[in-house]
Amino acid sequence: MRVNMTVNGRPQRADDVWEGESLLYVLRERLGLPGSKNACEQGECGSCTVRLDGVPVCACLVAAGQAEGRDIVTVEGLAARAGVPDGRLSPVQRAFVDAGAVQCGFCTPGLLVAADDLLARDPDPSDADIREALSGNLCRCTGYEKILDAVRLAAARGGGGVGDEAGRDGQEG
């Protein structure tokens, strides 16, 4: 079948999609957007979290056909969504790098989409709010402490829409 959708603001079309394919498979293997990760294929780890018409979902649990005509934001679209110039990081992305919240990084794209969604809803979340919002995202490396630091940092810097002053090459300092 053919699936049409908007991904990160751009109309996309996938042809020859099997009925059993997930949105995650279509994003990764057919549209060349491997940012959303596949770690459990059953909605338990959150590594493939994307926003589907604004709502965070596990892309592995969305049948490709369900995405027909819908709007999808993946980790690849977070910077553009935050209105930062091309090649720069969104505030949440920047905060994850600065806080040391990225180790192996496999869980990071899903966590970023979930954290971005949280801060869009609540620019000043409590720790309990952060934990609740990220409870569907497993991380095996960090112990989550630095992930909490990152979300707090992003919130303190003004969560949504603030540009990335340091730029993409500024991380090694």
């Binding site: 099997w18 059993g20 394919e21 990764r28 060349g32 957007l33 491997p34 940012g35 959303s36 990760k37 596949n38 770690a39 459990c40 294929e41 059953q42 338990e44 780890c45 590594s47 993946t74 980790v75 690849e76 910077a79 990081l89 992305q93 920047r94 994850f96 790098v97 600065d98 040391g100 990225v102 180790q103 192996c104 990084g105 496999f106 869980c107 990071t108 794209p109 970023l112 309990a128 934990r131 609740e132 990220l134 409870s135 995202n137 497993l138 991380c139 095996r140 490396c141 960090t142 112990g143 989550y144 402490e145 630095k146 992930i147 909490l148 993409r168 090459d169 991380q171 090694e172 300092g173």
Partner: protein
């Protein structure tokens, strides 16, 4: 002060205009430099092994055994092979060369060779043009099995007439083990236990059990094999040790090692689970058979079968102490279940035996550790590597002894804590700082988390902070708090005489108007931050700000494994060593070019700092860029080894087996709903000595991550294996639970830096030690809260409610 001509920016002495005083290079060791791969990882552009793609690529899939022990009567692949879109189906009969591999013993079949010895063992491979086609075709392979009796524990494995899993063993351990179903056995004997026993005022015996933990790295096993025109293959792979993979893969493919070129792709965590081969040889075999690139990506279900796990263990300990609370003797028997194949079981046994007493002085020791062959899933490396199981048991014993003697548990540990100069049960003298008592003091001195944190300003509870969370099981009525302490000891680096070296190639050159360094090693970056540290070392040693980390591959010598907390020590040491050679060559170049301008070139100790050549008095002699401009790149390759170790004596366990020890202490605060058996860890504080924190931010991250894995083992993580059939019952993230952010508490960390005089920069391996003591600390806290003995981890609700 030289004003200096602007033209060319160079002064007559070669120093840059306006700069004569040297300054420290930014981004060197000791700073919390950020990851060089961080930006790519947050934008989604970082290419993990599962993200690789190649034109015309096929997808590989593995057919696995549904039985734990069975003879294969026949395999019929005809229907699978005839499936449209299928390009190859391979079984044991199709293997071109070596049919077995292994890290220590070559006992693992590439594909089952007539017998399957564990549930999930690879039986056949399929390559197809869509992953679902490959899966469906694999399901059409008809395998006729004849089930065999299973051995699943020590009693069944060593019973008279028990099936021998590896008959005709010829490995080096076979002659020394009391039964062929024992992989390896290591006693440790020192002093006179019988005499000490007669003097003991307090004796405590206990039996303990540790469940089978999984590494549960987030990025599943995956890689891409691309056949090459020369008949070789290029493999892009997520692994922990490229060269160990290469050494095992090449004989399976029947190729010389130089025709198997391996490049590290993005690795989504490892924790020991990628030390053994998984799909490496399989993907290469399919690629060479089909002539097409083949990608394999395990799903989570398959991942649980595709890598080894932490050895489950049964441990029996007896401790005796005198009236003053000094340990007199320890006896222990540690039985590790190695599963169907050896993997790294022999080394795990060595660790469990040699570290079995913990970070304590004890003159009389009688210990035996062994690993079994069973039909359970194969077990091998996981963070903590044999020391975790022992730590759970000896720390429980220490608490019980303290109680028996009426002493505070921390005070009792302090009285027995080893220190620099202490003698290990193996006879090895600890010749670097061992601040065990200080770590305990520090972790105890940290402020306690407030009581009743779940109470909100309005007076009601925030259910999210209570045991059971928003399941609404309690509003705080039946909640009791407990506090527990533990400390552990872990060896750093490969032990027992292993030639534990690493290789680094460092290049310094003029590019874009400045000096740029490139560091090339085969070190697997699995998330630990080695790439950050290597850049920091190069900046410190070469005084440059721009450092490029070359992709890790087999075009440079082995870096050894990213495990045993060894990479910063060993590969970091190699990078430093190579940098020193580059520095000498650069200075020689400088002398040739500019030596006539300033006498200090010939006489002074010269350093490279902040892009300049400076004297040890801080006088700038030249800009590094000017020294390098117009010259060939300066390059050096170095191998580096830590101090040699030696094997433990097979009868007494005596020997200088370890190169370095690392220590961490934990304090856990828990709240338990005693009616429902639900546990909430409120805080998990850690104090650890890291010798020298090369990157404090990364060090803290490693400590918190390691502590969390220990927490997981304490209260939730276990691969459930049916004792009757050897089958795995929970191979999914729905049923194998790892801590979420809601299960994980605040984790304050106190880092101590007491330099190890034998290590590069005085550093001490960091990653593993915090995984040891967090488990017993959490369980000690639950014991204190509930008064229950709790001899097994993970602690489950039914253990707390008496059900």
């Amino acid at each position: 002060m030289t004003g200096g001509p602007a033209a060319g920016g160079r002064t007559p002495s070669g120093a840059p205009a306006g700069l004569t005083q040297g300054s420290r290079t930014r981004g060197g060791i000791g700073e919390s430099t950020l990851r060089p791969d961080g930006t790519l990882k947050v934008t989604g552009e970082f290419a993990y092994a599962s993200d690789l793609w190649h034109e015309d690529m096929l997808w590989g899939h593995t057919l696995r055994s549904p039985h734990a022990h069975a003879r294969i009567r026949s395999v019929d692949v005809a229907e699978a092979l005839a499936t449209p879109g299928v390009y190859a189906v391979l079984t044991h009969d199709d293997l071109p060369a070596a049919t077995r591999y292994g890290l220590e013993l070559q006992d693992t079949p590439v594909l089952a060779d007539g017998v399957v010895r564990h549930h999930g063992e690879p039986v056949a491979l399929v390559a197809a043009d869509h992953p679902e086609t490959a899966r469906r075709a694999a399901a059409k392979i008809r395998v006729a099995y004849e089930e065999l009796p299973v051995v699943t524990d020590e009693a069944s494995a060593t019973a008279p007439g028990a099936p021998v899993l590896h008959p005709g063993r010829t490995d080096g351990h076979a002659a020394h083990v009391p039964h062929p179903n024992i992989v390896h056995r290591q006693p440790v004997r020192r002093g006179d236990v019988a005499a000490a026993k007669a003097r003991a005022a307090a004796v405590v015996t206990g039996e303990y059990e540790v469940g089978m933990q999984d590494q549960a790295f987030l990025g599943p096993e995956s890689g891409l094999a691309v056949p090459a025109e020369d008949g070789g293959v290029d493999l892009y792979i997520a692994t922990q040790w490229l060269h160990a993979d290469l050494r095992q893969i090449a004989p399976v493919l029947g190729l010389p090692e130089d025709k198997v070129r391996m490049t590290l792709s993005g690795v989504g965590g490892a924790f020991g689970g990628r030390e053994d081969l998984s799909m490496q040889a399989h993907a290469c075999l399919l690629a060479l058979r089909t002539g097409r690139p083949v990608k394999m990506v395990y799903n989570r279900f398959e991942s649980f079968f595709g890598h080894v796990h932490r050895h489950p263990a049964r441990l029996r300990y007896e401790h005796g102490a005198d009236r003053d609370g000094r340990l007199l003797y320890v006896t222990a028997r540690i039985v590790l279940d190695g599963g169907a194949y050896a993997s790294s079981s022999p080394a795990v046994v060595g660790n469990a035996a040699s570290l079995s007493v913990g970070p304590y002085e004890c003159p009389n020791v009688d210990v035996e550790a062994l690993a079994l062959y069973t039909n359970n899933p194969p077990c091998g490396a996981m963070r903590g590597f044999g020391a975790v199981q022992a730590c759970f048991a000896y720390e429980a014993q220490m608490d019980r002894l303290a109680a028996e003697l009426g002493l505070d548990p921390v005070e009792f540990r302090r009285r027995n804590a080893m220190s620099q100069g202490s003698v290990m049960p193996t006879g090895q003298v600890v010749d670097s700082p061992a601040p065990v008592a200080e770590l305990l003091r520090r972790v105890k001195a940290m402020p306690m988390p407030p009581e009743r944190q779940w109470e909100t300003a309005g007076g009601g509870p925030d259910l999210r902070a209570l045991p059971g969370g928003v399941a609404n099981t309690t509003h705080g009525e039946g909640v009791v708090r407990g506090v527990g302490y533990a400390v552990g000891i872990k060896n750093v680096g490969f032990s027992e005489g292993f030639d534990d070296y690493s290789t680094a190639r460092v290049r310094l050159e003029y590019a874009g108007g400045e000096a740029v360094a490139t560091v090339h090693t085969a070190m697997a970056e699995v998330g630990q931050g080695g790439v950050t540290v290597h850049a920091q070392i190069a900046r410190t040693e070469l005084g440059v700000s721009r450092v490029t980390i070359h992709p890790a591959d087999t075009r440079v010598g082995s870096a050894g494994s990213t495990s045993a907390s060894r990479q910063t020590y060993v590969t970091g040491g190699a990078v430093r060593h190579a940098c020193a050679t580059v520095r000498e060559r650069v200075l020689a170049l400088g002398r040739t070019k500019f030596g006539t301008y300033h006498p200090a070139w010939a006489t002074a100790e010269l350093l490279l700092e902040d892009g300049k050549v400076v004297t040890d008095g801080g006088e700038v002699l030249a800009a590094l860029a000017d020294v390098l401009e117009g010259e060939e790149p300066v390059e050096a390759e170095a191998e580096w080894r830590h101090r040699p170790t030696e094997p433990f004596d097979l009868r007494t366990g005596q020997g200088t087996g370890h190169v370095q020890y690392s220590f961490a202490a934990h304090r856990a605060v828990v709240e338990v709903d005693t009616e429902l058996g639900l546990v909430k860890v409120v805080e998990l504080a850690c104090a650890q000595d890291v010798g020298k924190a090369l990157n404090p931010l990364s060090v803290t991250g490693q400590i918190q991550g390691g502590s969390t894995q220990g927490l997981g083992l304490a209260v939730m993580e276990e691969i459930a294996v049916d004792p009757g059939t050897g089958k795995v019952r929970n191979p999914s993230f729905t049923d194998y639970l790892i801590p979420t952010i809601l299960d994980t508490p605040a984790m304050p960390v106190d880092v101590l830096e007491l330099a190890d005089p034998h290590a590069p920069y005085g550093l001490r391996g960091v990653g593993e030690a915090p995984t040891l003591s967090s488990t017993p600390a959490v369980v000690a806290a639950i014991r204190q809260a509930t008064g229950l003995a709790l001899r097994r981890v993970p602690v489950r609700p039914e253990h707390l409610t008496g059900g």
